[in-house]
Symmetry: C2
Subunit: 194 residues, 2 copies
């Protein structure tokens, strides 16, 4: 199965009040931790917004797509990434503000795909809504038609779609929206180190 990761890094991070993707977690910028978790996967990084110039030097080994429509929300970034992977079997929609995601978790989500799944969503203790999600190509047309600041989850609601779930650790639910979120993440990382 050919899988391409659409790595979403075009957010403005307004609630954080700065470039959260370059904040350090475990001595490494958040975005590089996420890219390490995608080691071995085909991917494109979608950028746009205030922090493009800051981010680019960190991404010199990546295929990057600059999204001139970033102000129109996440759906525009997904659409550009999807153009790149339109001949693939599935895409992973990856949020770059989830620094605790690991390569093992990504592999676990991908491995959970089986015939009949239109998407795979990670859960933790049964709580749905985790990321990254895997979207099978049967849903590419719907994904392309999304508009505004919504993500893949939008098309998975309402029970119309065959969503498979896979139980993972808490990392699939932990993202950084605020400085307070970053503090929590740093506490988790420090506790795990001890």
């Amino acid at each position: 199965m050919k899988i391409g990761a659409i790595v979403l890094a075009a957010g403005e991070g307004r609630r954080f009040g700065g470039n959260k993707l370059l904040a350090k977690v475990g001595d490494e910028p958040v975005i590089l931790r996420v890219l390490k978790a995608l080691s071995g996967f085909d991917r494109v990084v979608i950028v746009g917004g205030a922090y493009v110039n800051e981010l680019m030097p960190y991404l010199s080994n990546e295929v990057i797509i600059y999204n001139p429509y970033y102000r129109d929300g996440m759906s525009t970034s997904i659409r550009l990434g999807l153009r790149f992977f339109q001949d693939y079997d599935a895409v992973l929609i990856v949020l770059t503000d989830m620094p605790l995601i690991t390569n093992e978790v990504v592999s676990r989500i991908v491995s959970a795909y089986h015939d009949g799944c239109s998407a795979v969503v990670p859960t933790h203790n049964g709580i749905t809504g985790g990321n990254p999600v895997l979207i099978h190509r049967v849903l590419f047309p719907e994904l392309t038609r999304l508009s505004g600041d919504v993500g893949a989850r939008e098309i998975l609601r309402g029970g119309r779609v065959d969503v498979c779930t896979v139980e993972c650790g808490p990392e699939v639910l932990i993202d950084i929206d605020t400085v307070n979120d970053l503090t929590k993440v740093l506490n988790i990382v420090n506790t795990n180190r001890q």
Copy 2:
């Protein structure tokens, strides 16, 4: 017919000794003249190399793909652009160092396409080798397989491919490789203005 333009701006311009794409011709940076000639066409601009940071601010309304493989030559940029347009009927391969190309010339090349053409190449006074070239999707697999610092012309040689030609002005043969070339272009523009 759906046509996408792959705009090649990842060259290092070594013979020019600087960023030729921001040199001004008729009061406008070379690359913006070329983009104006593509007005109305779907396009992606492929960047890479020494001048990315300088170019980006001029391209804030464009879909841009950063090519991390730019050192491996033009074929790698074409391949990335092609991934974006794989569902299109044809692509235009556009060199950004040809500032005399106009929207009329591009339309003329596109209009010259007819059934049986695998590619359309502009000529001037019968001299072939002009640009931009239009490549029909029948040649996308071959275009994807190119490697090294070669362009679309590589697959049009040897009479294997149904190449249609269209007679255009001298602008389809005029590119800027050196500072001397730029001087010649400026002379042409100044003469035409008088």
